[in-house]
Symmetry: none
Subunit: 340 residues, 2 copies
DNA sequence: TTGTATGCGTTATCAC
DNA sequence: GTGATAACGCATACAA
């Protein structure tokens, strides 16, 4: 929002003093927060972060290119469990090493202390994924001079933060088109966590394609990306008269949960039920039957994030970059035409 | 012991105030140094440390030997693919974070440049796994003052390098005992990479138990820890007259390969063939049927390595530590008595 | 009480 | 001068 400026006050770039005034503290304390110092209370830290965000403080120089000291990049994620994180990590590590940088792994726990860690270490840049940082946290990191790239953000990212992602909506559509082409008409879909952006996009793409083809409504439930809840939800969705003949799970792990539900209900895959997953983690190919799924280029995603980070770090870019990598359907043995 | 107090000088335990007086500073500053706070100059930090030493100050409760800036530990592995690396990473990360340290992930590529990386960064310590460092590399790291801990070394480690591992030989035995108790007598086993220490140990344990029970010879092949080669090797081992009724795979991933071989040969698990794996990665529980396997406490292994590294780093230890964590049989549905 | 920890501002300093 | 950082100690809260 443009603030009208009736008086003689010139809209100069905000300083730490401005931030301090709003946060109700001193300039050194603001500085301390932005440098990741220890002697600041959580409340004060939050107040400063909020003030930083509200005045849009940004450091004058993005950061010393810091010529030849070995550069450390932070890879921040909520946890390293699971194949997705694993693959992303591989991609990040490889691209970083190729560029001569090392990667610090930072696990973002709920308390938000990871922000201090990154700030304190004067990180040369952070790649953030599987975490939903608050806008105040993002603002603090930027104000601290840490270049950022988000991978597949959970929420809509602030418009001034770079990000990479995949064509989630498109992937959902492709999954639906495949099943429609096989002749399916009754569908169920299992989303991840309600409100996660990529879950929404995948489901929307799926539903959009189904509707466009004049297919019936899609029964949708959510299972927080986890296997066991997906199995429970799938069991409920499938244990009805006139049950769906095909299920779209928004992750491979949840698709494995659907396999389990099918086993419990005595449904054979793909004869009685077709299943499509999303991600194409290695396990997808090992299942019985091997899973038809929408492939994300996960490692490439990590590599792309590193390359983007290095661009953000060095050059100041005209526009905030946003890159989308294509998803791709991988047809294996878990899908077939519906039983007559 | 009750100390009588004849003179006026009472030998009481030193306090922070004493330290502060000698260091020529305030009590809070001393406290900050001991707590690893940020707002202390290097000179003051040193003065305080010296004073602490001279008066022999000791905290009431033992405290983390922080005293210095937050520290970066290196976790070096050959690649981060696979659940094993994933779980180990989780354990390492958690233990390091709990101790207030960050983890740099270093992938050891064949060229050995990782050693330079670690040395140049003056790493505070390195945990090495899934890599077989040459003795020259280990010597270089030690000469560079980098404390080391190996996790489950591939070769016999030099006697002056600390390591943690699991009871591999024992695990092999337990697998065999389980199958013997079910009534199996004809066995095959699939090793990892020929020459890897833990592969050897697992196979030896297995064979030792079989022989002790008077069982027949165990047919052994190697498959480099990978799924597809394991499938091929298993197919060959099982496609013979009087085929084995049970297979021991030295990793879960290879056990999944055995599942595939069984499918190709039309053998049902566990009716026609019992399978035991090793590791107990999450996927083991998802297979159909869920895999009976020898569990390694992988994350604990990583955590133990971190704790050992911190001990090696700070205290000088009497002996070179070597720690072994116990393996444990997890019985699921892939084993049953042999068909009559 | 005495000992210790925390959080903030003050003062000094540095880079333009 | 202005904007920012560095490092100390004061005031206070907390603990045995």
């Amino acid at each position: 929002m443009a603030v009208p400026n009736p008086s003689s006050i010139e809209p100069r770039r905000p300083t730490l003093a401005d931030v301090a005034a709003i946060a109700g503290t001193s300039v050194p304390t603001v500085s301390k927060v932005l440098r990741g110092g220890t002697d600041v209370s959580l409340a004060m830290r939050r107040a400063v972060m909020a003030a930083v965000e509200s005045v849009g403080y940004a450091p004058r120089e993005p950061r010393r290119p810091d010529s030849d000291a070995p550069v450390l990049l932070d890879f921040v994620l909520s946890d390293v469990h699971g194949s997705w994180a694993n693959q992303a990590l591989t991609g990040v590590e490889e691209a970083a090493t190729d560029a001569g940088h090392d990667v610090v792994l930072t696990i973002a726990r709920g308390d938000g202390t990871w922000v201090q860690h990154v700030l304190r270490r004067r990180s040369a840049g952070a790649i953030i994924t599987l975490v939903d940082p608050t806008s105040a946290q993002l603002a603090a990191l930027r104000a601290g001079g840490v270049p950022l790239v988000l991978i597949d953000p959970m929420s809509r990212p602030p418009s001034d933060v770079a990000s990479v992602g995949v064509t989630n909506w498109d992937g959902g559509r492709v999954a639906a088109e495949h099943l429609l082409a096989l002749g399916h008409r009754r569908f169920a879909a299992i989303g991840g966590t309600r409100g996660h952006r990529y879950s929404r996009a995948r489901l929307d793409g799926f539903q959009s394609a189904v509707q466009q083809a004049g297919g019936g409504p899609v029964l949708v439930e959510h299972a927080d990306w986890r296997r066991e809840p997906a199995a429970l939800v799938a069991e409920a969705l499938l244990d009805v008269p006139d049950r769906p003949t095909a299920v779209f799970a928004c992750s491979d792990l949840m698709a494995i949960g659907v396999y389990e539900a099918a086993r419990r209900l005595g449904l054979r895959i793909p004869d009685d039920l077709s299943v499509v997953g999303f991600d194409d983690v290695p396990e997808a190919a090992w299942g019985s039957p091997p899973l038809t799924t929408v492939r994300q280029p996960i490692a490439e995603l990590g590599a792309a994030a590193v390359r983007m980070l290095l661009r953000v770090r060095t050059g100041r870019l005209a526009a905030v970059p946003r890159e989308e990598l294509a998803t791709e359907l991988v047809v294996r043995a878990s899908t077939a035409p519906p039983a007559a």
